[in-house]
């Protein structure tokens, strides 16, 4: 148990995984000598050498495509994409190769590739540095998608992702990178990553993941002051979705608000809302409400505070689902 930042927790997870399994290699732009632009891989090249912490040429398809070749050779590559918006040049390799090779080879070739992506907005960056592309990958069969929200989960889930024999797209909430907490290291839980009820409540279920979970907790405190009891669920695994945990909660509360930074249309919130409706139709007192970013390109940084779902919009979403406010539209999303 020691107090550490999320960056350090991720760094420790990488180090522990590399010690644990010598087939783990890290690949990415600037991850070696520099330790990554966020320093997540700091000092690892010194410790493990340039053959395990590999600075790569500036080409994301190349990084992911060579990771596929390394997996064919029996390695367990952990790729860093420098920023969310630079994932797309690798999209073809991710969707047509990484996601499909286990199926294509009928289980003979494993693709235990972890793709770490610092994602989401709120850090005042220029274009392409604040994207939330998780729905693209959740929609892609063959991939698993994780999004930790806490310092502890950053460690634990990264270890789980690396240990997993399937490819995992691992979304790191970069805006929470500097948060710190006491964490336990060394343990890698077996089994599937589940959603977690991180705060129990009776009135409304509020579901989020990654960077928004912090704000969900704030919302719960604020709502409590008004006598409203929120049940907060941190999704953790975006694919597979732990629908049991979600449905259990909604069957109890009858109302649900789903929060993410990506735009609503065909986003993860739509899938969650639909599955909840499928599983809890007779329990629902109101249509699921989504509080999300807008269906727009990520805006310039001085506008992002208007784009990102904040405390007020989440609480408005709660009001809507409680029928204390007129319309879901007022949440600033659908």
């Amino acid at each position: 148990m020691s107090r550490t930042t999320m960056i350090k927790a991720l760094n420790t997870a990488l180090r522990d995984a590399m010690v644990h399994d010598e087939k783990v290699v890290l690949l990415g732009e600037d991850i070696g000598t520099l330790g990554g632009v966020f320093r997540v891989t700091s000092e690892l090249k010194k410790e493990f050498g340039a053959q395990r912490v590999v600075d790569t040429p500036l080409a994301e398809s190349g990084i992911v495509g060579t990771a596929v070749g390394l997996a064919y050779r029996g390695f367990r590559p952990v790729v860093e994409i420098q920023f969310d918006g630079f994932t797309y040049p690798a999209f073809d390799q991710l969707v047509s190769q990484v996601a499909k090779l286990h199926y294509r080879s009928r289980g003979r070739v494993k693709m235990p590739i972890t793709v770490r992506i610092p994602y989401g907005g709120g850090i005042g960056s220029p274009e392409h540095h604040s994207e939330s592309p998780e729905a693209y990958f959740a929609h892609t069969a063959g991939l698993r998608v994780f999004a930790p929200s806490s310092v502890q989960d950053s460690y634990t889930m990264l270890r789980q992702a690396i240990a997993c024999d399937d490819p995992v797209i691992f979304f790191e909430p970069k805006r929470r990178y500097h948060e710190s907490a006491e964490i336990t290291t060394g343990q890698v839980p077996e089994g599937v990553v589940k959603a977690q009820v991180i705060r129990s409540g009776d009135d409304v279920t509020v579901i989020g993941y990654g960077p928004t979970v912090y704000t969900l907790n704030e919302a719960a405190l604020a709502a409590e002051d008004e006598g409203i009891s929120l049940e907060i669920i941190d999704l953790r695994s975006l694919d597979p979705l732990d629908i049991e945990t979600l449905a259990d909660s909604v069957k109890h509360t009858g109302k649900v608000v789903i929060v993410h930074e990506a735009g609503p249309t065909a986003g993860l919130g739509a899938e969650i809302a639909t599955q909840i409706t499928e599983h809890c139709f007779d329990y629902l007192e109101h249509a699921p409400v989504r509080v999300t970013g807008f269906d727009i390109p990520y805006p310039p940084s001085r506008l992002e505070k208007f784009h990102l779902p904040d405390l007020d919009r989440i609480l408005t979403g709660v009001d809507v689902v409680l029928r204390r406010s007129e319309s879901a539209h007022q949440v600033g999303a659908r």
């Binding site: 495509g65 050779r73 294509r104 070739v109 024999d165």
Partner: protein
Amino acid sequence: MPIVSTQRMDLEAGSLPTHRLLTVNGEREPSEELDPYITDVDEAKLADFLRDMMVLRRMDTEATALQRQGELGLWAPLLGQEAAQIGSVRATREDDFIFPSYREHGVAWARGVKAEDLLSVWRGVTPSGWDPNEVNIACQQIVIGSQALHAAGYAMGIKFDGGTQISLGYFGDGATSQGDVNEAMVFAASYQAPVLFFCQNNQWAISEPVSLQARTQLADRAAGFGLKAWRVDGNDVLAVHAVTRAALEHVRAGQGPAFVEAVTYRMGPHTTADDPTRYRSEQELESWRAKDPIDRLTKHLESLGADVQKYLSRGETAADELAAALRQAITTMPDPQPTALFAHVYAEPHEALAQAEHDYLQYLEGFDTGESK
């Protein structure tokens, strides 16, 4: 007024020589550079190449016939490229790992893949026909150029774990336009990884001539990335063999990645769905027929005074046997069961998909028992 000339580039033009050891008449041309690489290639070995190429050609025509008869969904013939494939793959070590495209049937077959396993994919019964780890050859790649990066990555792995193998990436002339192939050369050069890119320039990417993809020799392009590059007459099995050995030696000695451009020709359609008469002339075809790799090797064996008839009939017997067995295997190959839909999507448990499978199978059972629709 077309802006792109569709004229074939002069095969002899460019900064690199096009290596050749056998003229189209089968005469042996000496080569100071390459002769040392084929001192062990005696009559018996040449006869083996001949048999390989004959069997391959038969497999190919048989596959085309099976497709026409509805037994395969599609087939991508390698007709004309037998020398490029056999000459190169026979130069590899068994533990060298190969990343092929959808047309390298000869490469896979020479590695011990059964013809019916190859064709099973084209029949549409399975996503892949063999275990890559058993034969050291990856699944055939359909997305143009992707596998070049896999080859580069595998080679990085060899370097990282200290292996002595070489990784080979096969692709066509059209593929050289893809970002992935170029990035593969960047990565290979950067890490000086033990990879050989083997490009079969068969002059066409479906209906597009190679002159649309490149205004220089493809080998020159590779050299610009810092790869050691060779250009070879791809219809000359001996030269292909020699050049591939030279290239593999270069790579195995740790001198960096290499590139071979084998200049050949796709004699058949792109696939059985293609009609090449729409974009190329009978003359062009004719001129390449004169360079046929099997004829050329036959003539060469003749020029050596070998009993060619014996070798030809041996080749034909082998081809007949393969064709008959292949036909038998393919026409009796059962269709897959719906459970195969869900198998191997994930390596580890995935509850939602398991549930979907369970529900679906139950639903299908309903039909069988006539219970419900």
